[in-house]
Amino acid sequence: MSDTKKFLFVNRKAPYGTIYAWESLEVILISAAFEQDVSLVFVDDGVFQIAKGQDTSDLGIKNFSPTYNALGDYDINKIYIEKESLEARGLTVDDLLKLTYEDEDDDWAEKDSIHVVSSAELVEIMDQQDVVLSF
């Protein structure tokens, strides 16, 4: 692979009702399949995308939340959640999917991919990226 770039995907919208969350997830998987350095951010209503216990049976839309559990297989392990967005919605990290990855350099130990960060810390993370895409 020639050029690896740092991609950050910013997810801002609720999972269903618009196509943004699913489209973002597809682009994320494609970017990772092309071995780019991928990070994810969930802010605003985007935090609901990785909420536990999603049930779309009454919506007639596929519940794609299980797919987030595959991110670890794609070597995506930098998943940032904005602390302020969680708090504003009365959520804690326990309300979110437990997303993990296996660390190849540490005897395949299972580690957390999710990091809760403040808005100020997010600014720094965004500053380090080559490409920032907002969905």
Partner: protein, 110 residues
């Protein structure tokens, strides 16, 4: 072009992938392979069944790199490598095996 098994016709897309995932049966998988002149052995089925389980759990078909790693973990290092998988599925392991498994083409597969 639809594919017919036991007198029942099933819709496929322009690349021969099943349109309705729920239509899939083992026989239909075999019929899809026969169209490509590919005879499915137990080794093929091991990969196909793995893909179906992966899809069931994660709702996606994995990219080939992810498939290779996951097969290695599940079925052993001698099978979790490109050479082994390409010998079974010369048109691309993820792409071809997904077709016989009745799954969509893997995301990010060109």
């Amino acid at each position: 072009m639809p594919i017919e098994v036991n007198g029942v016709s099933h819709e496929t897309d322009e690349e021969g992938y099943l349109v309705n995932l729920a239509d899939w049966t083992r026989e239909l998988g075999e019929a899809l392979a026969t169209e490509d002149d590919c005879e499915l052995t137990d080794a093929h089925w091991e990969v196909i069944n793995f893909l179906r389980e992966y899809y069931e759990e994660y709702q996606i078909a994995p990219a080939v790199r992810v498939l290779t790693k996951a097969i290695g973990k599940r079925l052993g290092k001698d099978k979790g490598n490109s050479k082994y998988l390409y010998e079974l599925f010369p048109y691309g392991p993820a792409k071809q095996a997904c077709k016989y498994a009745g799954l969509p083409k893997p995301t990010g597969c060109v």
